[in-house]
């Protein structure tokens, strides 16, 4: 057994009075890819967005239960949210590079820290390494000073992954990162994830069950804000314990 990086217990999330997550218990192991699957509105993105506290941006949201990262409750009052978010990177559904050059996009998160000044040579190295890890270096290396928005959607998404990698997070959250992309770009992203998995813990929300089965080690199925079932991907896909999981995987609903 590898060690658990994140443990969440009885996570409930409220939009005002309305409960949207009804007590999710889910753990994530180091250097594994976990896929969160489920139909629209099942709460998988909402749950994912609890893990780096980006839900805090929405004023009426309250989260109860506990989410622990290395045994530290991330919702404890003295937690530094910016430190947390440096450790837990996030890639969004729509590729959202800043309207800056590729170089500036990748360097952005590193420059934020500001305390230890990074030299130009070091920064060049970080940018190059991050873009290489995200498997987009060959496509952008001659145009590092072009606007990131001048590249294709798939390239933009990999630039966004590189932007996250540059900050050296331990955990990477991906919220349907390929749903806005064509199959070839999606394939490139999947390969990227598989190649960086050895250094990171990856949690990916996906609508695409084939994608979940291709890349993930663990799969969790959510429905109406409840965790129906979680386990090794093979078991879930071949031999699900719950009827709902079976029905969803066989396309009976969703």
């Amino acid at each position: 057994m590898t060690d658990k990086v994140i443990t969440s217990e009885n996570v409930r999330l409220y939009y005002g009075e309305k409960e949207a997550l009804h007590g999710v218990n889910l753990d994530f192991k180091k250097n594994e890819i976990t896929a969160l699957i489920g139909p629209s509105g099942s709460g998988k993105s909402t749950y994912l967005r609890c893990l780096n506290r980006i839900n805090d941006l929405i004023p009426e949201v309250t989260v109860t239960g506990s989410i622990k990262m290395d045994k530290q409750d991330i919702y404890a009052p003295n937690v530094d949210i910016t430190e947390l978010r440096k450790r837990v990177g996030m890639v969004f559904q729509q590729p959202n590079p800043f309207p800056f050059s590729v170089y500036e996009n990748v360097a952005y998160g590193v420059k934020l820290a500001g305390r230890s000044k990074v030299s130009k040579a070091e920064m060049d190295k970080i940018v190059e390494d991050s873009l290489k890890k995200a498997a987009v270096w060959d496509e952008v290396k001659d145009n590092l000073n072009d606007s990131a928005l001048s590249f294709s959607g798939g390239q933009q998404q990999r630039i966004c992954i590189a932007r996250v990698l540059a900050v050296k997070p331990e955990i990477i959250l991906l919220d349907e990162p390929t749903s806005a992309l064509d199959p070839i770009s999606s394939y490139a992203i999947e390969n990227t994830l598989l190649s960086i998995k050895k250094d990171y813990t990856i949690i990916i929300v996906t609508h695409n069950m084939q994608q979940a089965s291709r890349i993930s080690d663990q799969t969790a199925f959510l429905l109406d804000g409840k965790l129906v079932e979680a386990g090794p991907t093979k078991e879930i896909f071949i031999n699900p314990k719950e009827k709902e999981t079976n029905d969803y995987l066989n396309g009976k609903f969703g």
Binding site: L57, R85, K86, F92, Q94, F98, F100, G109, L112, L149
Partner: protein, 307 residues
């Protein structure tokens, strides 16, 4: 069969409505274009007659510092030096924009990002109120509050560029603010999320991403504010002092292009040199508003390249 054919070949009711609609809109467009051309022709022909009919040298008009169009100097040339007005106009415009911009950006950030709830209600109402106040009221407030205050503080008459700047600051603030709010609102929310998710604080996000992405829009807002300040006549006229002298400091009475126009136009005879000289001032104003417009277009299109 013939019935269908006849129906197809005949214009339907909708087609006729379409034609009528087209005629109405084209008529309006042509009328407005004629109006604009007429205004342009009028200002240009009168404004140029100073140089064509009265044989004033263009350069001495732009660089001369004595303005008393009724009189002639030692060489027999009319004294129509517009430089004091040009300098004063630019001074109040640039100073008021400089002072107003930081306030406008701060207020817009508060309204859009820091406290959007308050922004939508209370502050929005205040900004709209400021836009709606007639300029003569601003001038009157300037005359009764600002001018005595400056006089008390620095001595002198209290009239001058400083008083004009203060009054214009309040007048251009809502213009710059509301346009800056629009440009900040146009920055996609996902930039905010992406930046925060990378571990940036809200201030870092505002400073490094949002303001940067909104820069073309903010520059446009400033130019619009400057255009408003440059063209404002009444309120400025009431506090600037209306002395057509080269401004020596911010505290001495001066005159802008617009204030000189409003003061002088009633006291001159149509077709005379003093009147033509005023039209020339109007021509400069027209050219400047053209420059502001081109600047807005230029800044706007530069912003598009980043997208």
């Amino acid at each position: 069969m013939d019935q269908i054919k006849a129906k197809l070949m005949k214009p339907s009711k909708e087609t006729k409505q379409e034609t009528v609609g087209k005629i109405i809109s084209y008529t309006c467009i042509v009328a407005i274009m004629l109006l604009v051309l007429l205004v342009l022709y009028f200002i240009i022909s009168f404004g140029m007659s100073t140089f064509t009919k009265n044989n004033v040298n263009l350069w001495s008009f732009l660089s001369g510092t004595n303005w008393s169009p009724g009189q002639v100097d030692a060489h027999g040339n009319p004294e129509v030096g517009a430089l004091p007005m040009i300098v004063t106009s630019f001074a109040v415009t640039i100073l008021s924009a400089l002072v107003a911009t930081p306030f406008a950006i701060a207020v817009s950030l508060f309204m859009t990002i820091i406290a959007p709830k308050h922004g939508k209600g209370f502050l929005q109402a205040i900004i709209e109120l400021l836009v709606g106040i007639p300029s003569v009221v601003y001038g009157y407030i300037g005359l009764t509050l600002v001018v005595p205050f400056i006089r008390h503080l620095y001595g002198g008459t209290g009239f001058g560029i400083l008083s004009g700047t203060i009054v214009l600051f309040v007048m251009v603030l809502p213009t710059i603010t509301s346009l800056t709010v629009d440009s900040l609102k146009a920055v996609p929310r996902y930039y905010l999320e992406a930046s925060l998710a990378l571990g940036a604080t809200r201030w870092q996000t505002i400073y490094k991403v949002i303001l940067r992405a909104a820069t073309p829009g903010i520059l446009t807002a400033i130019i619009f504010g400057m255009a408003r300040a440059f063209g404002e006549a009444l309120a400025v006229q009431m506090v600037i002092g209306n002395a057509t002298l080269m401004p020596k400091s911010l505290l001495t009475p001066a005159a802008t292009l617009t204030s000189q126009l409003t003061t002088g136009i009633g006291n001159t005879v149509m077709g005379s040199l003093p009147n033509n000289a005023l039209w020339s001032l109007a021509l400069i104003l027209l050219l400047m508003s053209l420059v502001f417009n081109i600047a807005v277009k230029f800044v706007g299109s530069k912003g598009d390249l980043n997208k």
